[in-house]
């Protein structure tokens, strides 16, 4: 029974990811006083790309063809660590949040290699900037998660969720506020949203992720776009699970699961609104200001770890 629920959670994370992206895009459009495309647009785009033929540069090697595949596989594996409706996950085990971070790193590693294999300057530029951002974003990511782990005295995400479920929602904990701040900043950096990277641009001056996927087309591009949508969805789900998990079903009953799913949709909607407001309100940071952004995130998460000593709430 638990396996079914866990597999269902992973499927939700994978299948609903383009919808989350579509919702955010539409909200941004509305905020910018445009009509915006339909929220189901990303699905149409994925179908279109999957049916097209693939163009491969002649100078590329097997790594170019392998990169989107490994990226997709690694992102799915990372999504298998995140609880959605029930305080458990498919690959949940002690110390799994380290695995989650490094699975995402595996995907990013291969995507950067694929970018360099294209043989153009855009791929190199994207890969070089991505190397800068990701190397600095890992420390606050892990420190924020470690702060929560120390507070909950548990080492797995499901355990942290279960501990948070037992807490009073109105007890504002300093550690949680600081950890949320730093993890939110890391989410923006890792998923390539404003102010770190502009996901809608195609100018070489402003792109990190888009620069890396410039040479891809057809099914490979579909896999990459889907993988980045899954990554965004998984990280938002992680934020919800760690900081606002109330409403998750305690037992495996059908009605409990349905209610938890509805509540989850509401929480994702709130986060989507927040994200679109931030993306529309803030200008993209200059490239060399991003390390400052991530340095602030590191300091805040380090403070969260320090606070776990005094503020055990």
């Amino acid at each position: 029974m638990k396996i079914t629920i866990d597999i269902l959670q992973v499927l939700i994370l994978i299948m609903a990811a383009p919808l989350v992206r579509g919702v955010i895009a539409r909200l941004k459009a509305r905020l910018q006083r445009r009509r915006g495309a339909s929220v189901w647009r990303p699905y149409a785009e994925l179908f279109k790309l999957l049916r097209k033929e693939e163009l491969v540069p002649p100078t590329s090697s097997a790594v170019f063809r392998l990169a989107p595949v490994v990226l997709f596989g690694a992102t799915i594996c990372a999504a298998a660590f995140v609880p959605v409706m029930h305080a458990s996950s498919l690959l949940g085990s002690q110390g799994d949040f380290f695995m989650l971070v490094y699975m995402l790193a595996l995907g990013r590693f291969f995507l950067s290699l694929g970018a360099l294999d294209g043989g153009s300057a855009f791929g190199g530029m994207g890969a070089s900037r991505e190397a800068l951002v990701s190397s600095l974003a890992e420390a606050p990511f892990l420190l924020g998660l470690v702060a929560l782990a120390v507070l909950a005295a548990r080492a797995d995400i499901a355990g942290m969720v279960a501990w948070t479920l037992g807490q009073n929602i109105f007890n504002i904990s300093a550690v949680h506020i600081l950890a949320f701040t730093s993890l939110a900043m890391v989410t923006l950096a890792e998923t390539g949203r404003m102010p770190v990277d502009n996901p809608t641009t195609h100018l070489e001056l402003t792109m990190i992720h888009e620069g890396m996927v410039l040479e891809y087309s057809g099914p490979s591009l579909a896999l990459i776009e889907w993988a980045s949508a899954i990554k965004l969805h998984a990280m938002l789900a992680l934020l919800i699970a760690l900081f606002c998990p109330w409403g998750m079903a305690a037992s495996g009953s059908g009605w409990g699961m349905a209610a938890a799913l509805l509540l989850y949709c509401a929480k994702i909607a709130v986060l989507a609104i927040l994200l679109s407001v931030i993306e529309s309100a803030v200008a993209k940071l200059r490239m060399y200001l991003v390390p400052d952004f991530l340095g602030v995130a590191s300091a805040v998460s380090a403070l969260a770890v320090i606070f776990t000593m005094w503020v055990k709430r």
């Binding site: 097997a62 063809r65 490094y102």
Partner: protein, 662 residues
């Protein structure tokens, strides 16, 4: 009976490597003699692996006592710790020998080949001697022999003023380290009446605290110099890049681990943990080493220097685990100490595997393209697919990505930091979880560095004629590379193979430790993650559609050339810019002619990176020693009567000393 035969096997393998093979190679120049020597080395290494595994399973292991033939006590014994490191030495030696067999055939002349194999055999035997020695004399003999023979191997490769200077610095620092290690042994002498390891272990319990602190400091300094911890790492980027690639693989992969072995032997086996501050001191040095090592590695364009600095960084990670273990020991938490020790030892083994793989890869690259400058490579994956795949495995392993072995040891190190939050002491509660951030930063920078390395060297278009004409390497080299790559992947997916023996080893070194549950949980979960990633990839690959070759898009730019790609220098620029305080390069822009700025004939740009310690730490120290030496020169007046006076004064002071001793 089995123990007897294992002991005989051990004696035989030492004899073969240390005596027989060099003799064969010196006696005859024939091709068949060399083939025999290589075969003997391979068989001896394989025998070493057998000895190691059987000694691990059945203790007590073989003991080899040669004290009758030598002036000082000289014996070998293979206990569990020695068995683990013996396995490390021998299992890396096999692929490196396979690689070296083709490599030296292609690159060396007849006479140099014989000398190289003779020295290599001696090198292996000296390393085996170090990790299996059971008396101080044997240990120190092997220690010194390692340094000398490796210096010899470096000089066989070529001879020039610069090489001699680098070898000089290498030997100097190795001797300083050896002096510190010898001091450690001799500090035990009044309490153990002899340098047999058993006696030292017994003496370790009764040694007063002041001596314990001194022993710990000397051990840390001596083994740290050998391991290349900052600031004693200066020799590493000088010595490792100029050695031939198989020798670099052995030096980086195995020789640095003998320093880890020595430190574990002293700090954990003999002393049972240092003073209360020892763990924090080791953590501090290790953190600085790891960070600065990888920062210097990122800035390098020479592949072998990059790998040398990366070795510095990985030794930092190993010592992070060892420092954590010492912190746990000081707070009487044996379970956490065992976990951290297992993490450090596993990382030592993993590093041996993937670093030798990467150095052998550098050898393969230089064999095919005659260059190890990253800015001159490119597009090698299409021309050397198997080599590229093996090196890709090495790069993923060193970056600590899941499914490869580097991840398992880093994961265990992270878990041991997390376990630090359960200690009662406030210092440990803050410092250890914050170390997660430092290791995460090191890991992130390593991934960036090796994206650059593999991406610039193997992907894209070739940047020089050498890279364009590259061909796949011969079978021997490919075999060596693939063996090591297979080992990396195997331990990455089934880490239980190494974790199950490591836990009892940690339990032997740390009394009262149970089985850390983390070792079990990682062994359970890695096969599943591998299944999901590989399964998804396989499914996707099965459903792939047709593909068509088309020009690189690059936003429609025409006529792309290889110079329009990102080079290694440019790739690392953002990171170098952010960490500019660390690098402080000397930049010089020269323009010819200088008085006509608008009509230059040529403009040259020079950027020299000297590490800041060379200027701030070493220069004043070296100047001090040189000035002291110059002053001492005045004692040598050349006048014979003054020398007679010295002898007379020595006699007088000796008599006075004897008089006042009563």
């Amino acid at each position: 009976m089995l123990t007897g035969s294992i002991a005989a096997l051990f004696a035989l393998l030492l004899a073969v490597l240390a005596v027989l093979v060099p003799l064969i190679l010196i006696a005859s120049r024939a091709e068949s003699a060399r083939r025999l020597a290589v075969a003997l080395i391979l068989i001896a290494s394989f025998a070493g692996c057998v000895v190691a595994v059987s000694s691990f399973l059945r203790q007590p292991g073989p003991v080899l006592d040669l004290s009758r033939a030598t002036p000082f006590p000289f014996s070998f014994a293979v206990d569990r710790l020695s068995a683990f490191f013996l396995l490390l030495v021998c299992s890396v030696a096999i692929p490196v020998t396979l690689f070296g067999a083709s490599y030296f055939d292609l690159h060396y002349s007849e006479q140099r080949r014989n000398w190289t194999w003779a020295f290599l055999s001696l090198f292996l035997s000296s390393m085996i001697a170090v990790v299996t020695a059971s008396t101080g004399f044997a240990f120190l003999a092997g220690w010194e022999l390692m340094a000398l023979v490796s210096a010899g191997l470096i000089l066989i490769e070529g001879d020039s003023t610069e090489r001699r200077h680098n070898v000089f610095i290498y030997l100097l620092m190795m001797h300083v380290g050896a002096a510190a290690v010898a001091a450690c042994f001799f500090l035990f002498l009044p309490y153990s009446h002899g340098l047999d390891f058993r006696a030292i272990r017994a003496a370790g319990a009764i040694v007063p605290p002041g001596i314990r602190t001194a022993v710990f400091l000397f051990a840390f300094a001596g083994f740290g110099a050998k391991a290349g911890l900052i600031p004693l790492h200066l020799w590493l980027p000088r010595a490792h890049p100029i050695a031939p690639s198989p020798v670099s693989a052995l030096m980086s992969g195995i020789m640095l681990k003998t320093a880890v072995y020595g430190f574990v032997r002293f700090a954990f086996d003999f002393l049972g943990g240092g003073p209360w501050w020892s763990g924090y001191a080791v953590l501090l040095v290790a953190a600085v080493t790891g960070l600065l090592g990888i920062l210097y590695a990122i800035a390098e364009n020479d592949l072998k220097r990059l790998l040398a600095y990366s070795s510095v960084e990985n030794l930092g990670i190993i010592f992070l685990g060892l420092g954590t273990s010492l912190v746990f020991l000081a707070h009487h938490a044996p379970l956490g100490a065992a976990l951290a020790l297992v993490a450090a030892l596993l990382h030592a083994f993993n590093h041996a595997l993937f670093k030798s793989l990467l150095f052998l890869g550098a050898g393969a690259i230089s064999n095919s393209t005659h260059s190890v400058d990253l800015n001159e490579l490119g597009g090698l994956q299409r021309r050397m697919p198997l080599t590229g795949a093996a090196i890709l495995v090495g790069c993923c392993s060193i970056a600590g990505l899941p499914l490869f072995n580097g991840f398992v040891s880093e994961w265990l190190t992270f878990r041991s930091f997390l376990a630090g939050s359960t200690l009662i002491d406030t210092k440990a509660q803050i410092v250890l979880p914050l170390m997660v951030g430092i290791l995460a930063l090191i890991g992130g920078l390593t991934a960036a560095c090796f994206v650059k390395t593999f991406g610039v060297a193997f992907l894209g278009r070739p940047r020089s004629a050498g890279a364009e004409d590259a061909r796949e390497v011969p079978l021997g080299m490919r075999a060596g590379l693939c063996l090591l790559a297979a080992g990396c992947v195997l331990i990455g997916i089934v880490p239980g193979l190494l974790l199950r023996p490591l836990v009892p080893l940690a339990q032997v070194l740390i009394t009262g430790a149970g089985v850390p549950s983390e070792t079990l949980s990682i062994a359970r979960i890695t096969p599943w993650t591998a299944a999901i990633v590989l399964g998804t990839s396989a499914l996707v690959v099965l459903f792939k559609r047709r593909e068509r070759m088309a020009r690189t898009w690059a936003c429609g730019l025409p006529e792309l050339s290889s110079r329009m790609q990102y080079t290694s220098t440019v790739f690392s620029k953002p990171i170098r810019f952010v960490f500019a305080r660390v690098y402080r390069p000397d930049r010089k822009v020269e323009q010819v002619p200088a008085d006509q700025p608008y009509f230059p004939v040529s403009i040259s740009y020079r950027s020299v990176r000297t590490t800041s310690y060379e200027r701030a730490l070493y220069r004043p120290f070296v100047d001090l020693i040189v000035s002291l030496a110059l002053r001492l020169r005045r004692l040598q007046t050349g006048n014979i009567q003054v020398y007679l006076l010295y002898i007379f004064l020595a006699l007088v002071s000796l008599l006075t000393f004897l008089r006042f001793q009563r």
